[in-house]
Symmetry: C2
Subunit: 346 residues, 2 copies
Amino acid sequence: MSVKQSRIKRVTQSDVAAMAGVSTAVVSAVISPKPGKTIRVGEEAEKRVRAAMETLGYAPDVVAQSLAGGKRNIIGVFTYEAIFPSDSENFFYPFLLGIERGAMKLGQDLLLFTSSSLEKGPRSIFPGGANRMGVADGAILLGEEPDKRELKRLYDTGFPFVTIGRRDTDKAELNWVAADYTAAVADVVKRCAALGHRKLKFVGATQVREQNIDRERGFMDRQAENLTLSVERLETDDIDGAWLRRCLDDGNTVVLTETFKHAVALERQVAAMSGSVPQTISIVALASPLTRPADVERWTRISVPREEMGEVAVRNLIAQIRSPENTPIKTTLPCGFVPGSTLQAI
Amino acid sequence: MSVKQSRIKRVTQSDVAAMAGVSTAVVSAVISPKPGKTIRVGEEAEKRVRAAMETLGYAPDVVAQSLAGGKRNIIGVFTYEAIFPSDSENFFYPFLLGIERGAMKLGQDLLLFTSSSLEKGPRSIFPGGANRMGVADGAILLGEEPDKRELKRLYDTGFPFVTIGRRDTDKAELNWVAADYTAAVADVVKRCAALGHRKLKFVGATQVREQNIDRERGFMDRQAENLTLSVERLETDDIDGAWLRRCLDDGNTVVLTETFKHAVALERQVAAMSGSVPQTISIVALASPLTRPADVERWTRISVPREEMGEVAVRNLIAQIRSPENTPIKTTLPCGFVPGSTLQAI
DNA sequence: TCTTTTTGATTATACGCTTAATCAAGGTCA
DNA sequence: TGACCTTGATTAAGCGTATAATCAAAAAGA
């Protein structure tokens, strides 16, 4: 006969209620005061309840609160990759900084859904069909989802969440906070034009998501000003000598690359034909690097307000949680232009 | 009159049960088959249940499962500083990596107590007297606590927790996982001896905590082998020209410093008297740097198995949560010796 | 044939909290 | 003085699941 596992004795509401000489409903009301006051508490009683909570060391059980439909002051953070990136200069890290700051300011704890990892590969919101997120009041989703249907499915559950990065879905109005790539790229084009460039090429990733669309739109926005603009989407491998030759022969004087990898690949080809950047051709990177290369500073590029995006995501999420009847909040934040030495006047 | 937010209707066990023509208990048994079989299910019934789950798209509610099972599968992480260090090469970061990995493996979510931050200054476990930790099943404490009484107080609540780093407290047997500084420093002394050093000096921090005691003990362990050992504890500012002169005059050929700051301060003084390390004197750092200086690799030092410590902390915590009647688990993990160019033979 | 065991299920309760529905007591007001 | 409101509470009904306690029927054993 095995020894029975002794349960940890939790301090519960009724313990507190008993000590304070009130009912559990009063304790509940003290923990989470609601404007819709179906239960009212007198000063005296509240004082006794708080004292009892103090001496008993009571903390509400979030799980029970969740089940009962109350608020927990916990926001979930879901990432498709590891939350603490082993590469510490990781692209996602600043978002987390911002999220933590936002959570601090708003008195929220952060729940990281580390349990949803399968053996290998990317995480799933619904590992094995179940969804742990319900423990939190809402969640922030970070990173590129491998399967957009998961977003739709989560949306259908009615669970409040905010994605970092714009998300476009049929039949689902999502909350998101995104960088204003459109304006940022349009600004880059304008600056290039001011520097005398007339033929500009946009080199984008083959994977086309919302942010890529935004960049391309920003690029094309400036068509009017007697510029010649062309767009190509290709793998970095496709940027070879022949490609560069054609690009130059076409008269392009500056290339805007959607990723750092493209920019680096391009510079390598320039070097291969004994040219140099920006003498042979100018380059502007339209992104923050995924992992910080040693020489980032050298590059002319745009910067994404990542920490701020994280903080705003928390604010928007809380707003959405507090009034779910409101329409989804979509926030775009301006990017910065970072001058470097890879863009020159012509 | 505001429109009431219509709750999303969940597919529950009883829906499935109804469709399959059984009771909810059977459905529950089908989802989680336990060895302790208090409920048995026939083949026919199981088939019907599975079919019903399929057609209804049923997914168990993890929150309810947690409530009923008594386990939340949530581990708290408490840090006295910001959890996501803005300096990502931060000393604490690898611990978090390990904690996340451990949590993943054991199917736990991680709750970061960001709400317990006061305006400024270090965090408190009991902000305003309340303790949010009860939210989790247990917690991992990271960083140097400003006030040890908080630990005792937390211990007295019976809440399971593990500290990273050894903690010694009166009347409280704590769980911890620590680096084996004693063995590591003893090893360093042995290596120095093997290289011909006979007079070694230990320079420690004035702040004496458990880990400092451990290092000093490791240093003194080797007294037998006809070595001359001396210990000094001082601020980095106290390492000036006069001090270095005395140190050399005493015949010391190697200094073991407890922190990187001390090591750096010492080297600066050596340079100030036109000497160099390790020609003038050898230096070994007995720690991992708090923030990674550009030239860490140059230093002969010991390395702390931080990621592993984080992972083990999770394991130990879970073990403690599962069987609270067990005695506290104290784990020490071996450090590594990292050869560098600041230690030479004599 | 009568008792005992095994199999396959049901019922009822607990988990800790929120909240609608109630209610008692005292205060207002015509 | 009785009708009505306000205040400060209590009661009780969930939320979705797990599981101990039961139980009926069939199988096995004597």
